[in-house]
């Protein structure tokens, strides 16, 4: 195989060398050296630009005909419809600009080919023409800017107060959606509270207690290891450092505990966490907040014309109002399997290409029913613990 490839490469080179020889010989026979141009060949090259131009336009039209139907369906959100009309408006202008400039380019290239006895016109500039083609694009752009920015202002306006609050939380490599629950407030969270049963690091009096005892256990274990470790070795250093870190983490959590005693962290109790698929009601504004556990991801919901990065250390926001239910969209697209999607759209590691969630848009009733079925974060399992802690807090 390798041998064949080498042979092929050598053959190609040999063929090229022969080709060049032939070119050179025929060139000499015709008596033209490389500085001089051959009128006919040059005219042929000029005309090729027309062929290319036609081919280029045909290619674009072919692409539009073939792939136009599989572009995204109509926007499924209120602001998405606005974006689509801004887009359509821009396309109209751009197509025109594209067509005019390209037709002129290829036409001039094909028309003004070199002729031995002609001289080009000595035209250096033309103030009037230049004024026109500077100010005309400026005016068109002004319109584009105003139209685009007024849409942008509406889209990025304050989140409406009558909306539902959902958090999308990203980590390598999946999404979690969190619903605010009956208090409409998303409870506080912090990375130091993350463990297997609390992947979002939500803060509640229970998680505070759990984390404190977990970390204390870890420290005890590490201290045990340290006693056994040979003195002054690398291992000792490493363990000491680890213990110091764990203590610092413990202190951070204890700070939350003190705050908790003044005003208990209760708003995460009724938060609901879902994976794989999340639901939203049609016609109601959805106020998203985004957080990320590890690296930057991006919550991309193309059918709703919505996207926002999720940035570790910062909470970002976006809101939109869905207008078309999943069932309606299935009908419109004639695809009974159609689903709205949440994708990751910021490079985040090996499985970046497969971080997805389905979004179901449905009637308010269906949504309410679905949401009621989801269990809250502080569910019955921890109810006992909750009661104990509540009693303690009441005593303080």
């Amino acid at each position: 195989m390798t041998f064949l490839i080498i042979l092929l490469v050598l053959l190609v080179f040999a063929a090229l060398i022969q080709l060049v020889r032939v070119f050179e010989l025929t060139g000499k026979l015709k008596g033209n050296n490389q500085d001089r141009i051959d009128f006919k060949e040059n005219r042929f090259r000029a005309k090729l630009w027309l062929v290319f131009g036609a081919g280029y336009f045909a290619f674009i039209i072919w692409l539009i005909v073939k792939y136009g139907p599989v572009m995204l369906p109509e926007a499924a959100s209120e602001h998405g419809a606005t974006i689509d009309s801004v887009m359509a408006f821009n396309w109209a202008i751009l197509f025109l600009a594209f067509a005019i400039t390209h037709v002129l380019l290829f036409y001039f290239a094909s028309k003004y080919y070199w002729m031995p006895n002609r001289k080009a016109d000595y035209i250096t500039h033309n103030n009037k023409l230049e004024l026109v083609w500077t100010s005309f694009p400026a005016i068109v752009l002004a319109v584009i800017i105003i139209y685009g920015l007024s849409a942008w202002n509406d889209i990025t306006d304050e989140a409406p107060s009558n909306g539902i609050n959902i958090e999308l939380y990203s980590k390598q490599f999946d999404w979690t959606a969190r619903y605010a629950g009956s208090d409409s407030t998303l409870g506080a969270a912090n990375i130091n509270f993350i463990n297997t049963s609390n992947p979002l690091g939500l803060i509640t009096p229970e998680t505070i207690e759990t984390r404190i005892s977990e970390i204390e256990d870890e420290i005890t274990k590490l201290e045990g290891d340290l006693e056994e470790a040979p003195e002054d070795g690398l291992k000792e250093e490493e363990l000491t450092e680890k213990i110091a870190r764990k203590n610092r983490q413990l202190n951070k959590i204890l700070a939350y505990k003190r705050k908790n005693e003044v005003e208990p962290y209760r708003s995460a109790d009724d938060d609901k966490l879902v994976k794989v698929e999340f639901h939203v009601p049609v016609g109601v504004p959805v106020n998203f907040q985004f957080r990320s556990q590890d690296v930057i991801h991006s919550a991309y919901m193309p059918h709703f014309r919505a996207q926002m990065n999720t940035v570790p250390g910062t909470i970002t926001e976006f809101h939109f109002t869905p207008t078309i239910t999943t069932a309606e969209m299935r009908q419109k697209t004639g695809n009974s399997e159609f689903n709205y999607l949440l994708l990751c759209n910021k490079i985040c590691g090996a499985a970046h290409y497969n971080m997805q969630m389905n979004i179901i848009v449905e009637s308010q009733e269906a949504y309410d029913k679905w949401l009621a079925e989801q269990s809250t974060f502080t569910s019955s399992e921890t109810a006992e613990l909750r009661n104990q802690i509540n009693e303690q807090l009441a005593q303080n």
Binding site: L16, F98, L141, A306, P312, L343, Q356
Partner: protein, 589 residues
């Protein structure tokens, strides 16, 4: 300067070809190094395009190239996919189209077109090349480290690029990437400073700023952009080094990864993006302006007609250069930045469309009523006008913050920047090589091979990148190892195959070019002194390279560089060294 200093004297091989301080030789060094790096970048793109066209299928030669670790059983590993994309982007943007393009043509043309004996500092010029060379070597070495090369995308956003736990490429591979880029930046700064000083100070008698060929203006503004923006990239990189190695938190905050809550707090990954794109956007003009400069020269020369609107062209170059510093935020519309600031960036970005449009119109009008000779260089230049317009127009869509919400980071962006920056600059660079090859090597390239190379390259270029607009409009994200996880994207399977086929054809066409390039160096027909009947000064130097460029006194300049087909002259060109006749006006009159 005394002429005897430039007499021919025997030189050792090392001082002539390796540690040379002669700008013409340094230009060739940049060119060949850039071509070599580009070949690596191109092969990488073929490797990952194969994965995109036939995801999951086994290709034995992938294992042959990448080893069992990165292509187990002939299927590309997802981490390697990202690494290939990252190094491909880095090589193409920085090593080919920044150092390869500016490095070659600034070095070759600045002294020759302004009438100087050499660069202001030959020594710094040599340093610039060797920094670049070392940077290239380190970048290539990074391909072979155990944990793989950098894989966080060519923009290397932290935290992904800061944490080896996040992706294997962010280990030693990323460290080498940063070292390489640091040297690269040093090379750019040393080189750029030299270019600026040379153009400003060493112009020959009569060469006023408004008589400079447009190539000089473009290369001057390019060097200024580089000088102002590369230091910012350097600081971004250094802060990243600190975060990676010394536990600082410039870019890191509240991160839980690999089962551990990191202690970093207070930093912002968005800060990195601001710093990066403060270079990153001017960078695209650092790539594009030389391309526009070279083609201005070639189009005017081959149309046998003055470039239309010389002063407007200079004005546009300056306006683009200035505006390019206040638009970087258009890469960050969906990072959660303040919507008002987003609006300002939309506004400034769309302003750039005006000088860009002026340039496009000027090109087209230069062809109008010309007497056009379609040399291979001219074919590439006309093609560049087409890609510059096609790619520039989609920029108007992406600049519109409202529209970018749904297009950011999709294949629409990949289509846009490949056409406006990748294709335009590559086509212009080829144009430059075909046009100035006689000046570099004293021989002519074979024209027939040139045309074959041109058509294959140009058609494949559009064939690869134009369809990507449609992927982006359908919502296909970039940097995806495969699109097969989403039934939504199944409609594009055959399109991905088509693009990969074009990519392979386009790459194969480069064999023709390489052959022509090296074959003609020894066997090409000898060039005459001024093979294109051009006006600018480089064509008044002898074909054989000599130190100091002109054997006798430096030439004196009497007119601008665009007196093509001037009425009342016998020839259709008037070199800049020809004195004005009685009553003749100079320049744009």
């Amino acid at each position: 300067m005394a002429t005897h200093a430039h007499e021919h004297h025997k030189e050792s091989f090392v001082s002539k070809y390796i540690f040379t301080m002669d700008h013409k030789m340094i230009a060739k060094q940049f060119l060949v190094t850039g071509m070599f790096m580009a070949t690596i970048g191109m092969i990488m793109s073929i490797l990952f395009r194969i994965q995109l066209a036939w995801p999951g299928e086994s290709f034995k030669f992938l294992t042959f190239f990448l080893g069992e670790k990165w292509a187990p059983g002939g299927v590309l590993d997802p981490n390697m996919y990202l690494a290939l994309g990252t190094i491909h982007g880095t090589i193409m943007v920085f090593f080919l189209l920044t150092a390869g393009l500016s490095g070659t043509f600034s070095n070759l043309l600045i002294p020759l077109q302004i009438g100087a004996r050499d660069m202001a500092s030959g020594f710094m010029n040599m340093l610039s090349y060797w920094f670049f060379f070392t940077a290239s070597v380190i970048m290539l070495v990074s391909l072979f480290v155990e944990s793989g090369p950098a894989a966080a995308g060519w923009t290397v956003y932290p935290p992904l690029s800061a944490l080896p736990q996040a992706i294997p490429g962010s280990g030693l591979g990323m460290t080498l990437w940063l070292v390489s880029m640091t040297l690269f930046i040093a090379s750019q700064l040393i080189g750029g400073l030299n270019y600026i000083v040379t153009i400003v100070n060493l112009r020959t008698k009569g060469m006023t700023m408004t008589r400079l060929p447009l190539t000089m203006w473009a290369l001057l503004v390019t060097a200024i952009l580089g000088l102002l923006s590369f230091p910012v990239l350097l600081s971004a990189a250094l802060l990243l080094v600190f975060d990676r190695m010394f536990g600082t938190s410039f870019y890191l905050s509240d991160i839980y990864i690999a089962g551990e809550a990191l202690e970093n707090s207070g930093g912002s990954p968005i800060l990195y993006q601001h710093l990066f794109w403060f270079l990153g956007h001017p960078e695209v003009y650092i790539i594009l302006l030389p391309a526009l400069g070279l083609t201005s020269e070639i189009i005017s020369n081959n149309s046998r007609k003055p470039i239309f609107g010389y002063r407007a062209m200079i004005g546009s170059i300056l306006a683009i250069g200035f505006l390019s510093f206040i638009v970087w935020g258009h890469h960050m519309f969906v990072t959660g930045m303040d919507p008002f600031i987003g609006a300002v960036f939309t506004f400034t970005t769309l302003l750039i469309a005006i000088p860009s449009a002026v340039k496009a119109f000027n090109y087209i009008t230069t062809l109008w009523k010309g007497n056009i000779r379609f040399t291979p260089a001219m074919m590439f230049s006309v093609a560049m006008v087409s890609t510059f317009i096609s790619g520039g127009l989609t920029g108007i869509i992406l600049a519109d913050s409202a529209l970018d919400i749904n297009l950011h980071d999709t294949y629409f962006v990949v289509a846009h920047f490949h056409i406006v920056m990748g294709l335009s600059a590559v086509l212009a660079m080829f144009a430059g090589v075909y046009h100035w090859y006689p000046k570099m090597y004293g021989r002519m390239l074979n024209m027939k091979l040139g045309y074959a190379h041109f058509w294959l390259t140009f058609v494949s270029g559009y064939g690869v990148f134009f369809p990507m607009h449609f992927l982006g409009l359908a919502g296909v994200p970039r940097r995806y190892y495969t699109n097969s996880e989403f039934p939504l994207f199944d409609a594009f399977i055959d399109m991905n195959v088509l693009m990969t086929v074009f990519a392979i054809v386009g790459s194969a066409a480069q064999v023709i070019f390489f052959f022509n390039f090296f074959y003609s160096m020894v066997r090409g027909p000898k060039a005459s002194q001024n093979p294109w009947q051009a006006n600018s000064l480089e064509w008044t130097t002898p074909v054989e390279h000599i130190h100091g460029n002109w054997p006798g006194a430096l030439p004196e300049v009497h007119r601008w560089a665009y007196d093509y087909s001037k009425p009342g002259k016998d020839e259709d060109f008037v070199p800049q060294t020809v004195p004005l006749a009685e009553g003749e006006t100079d320049g744009e009159h």
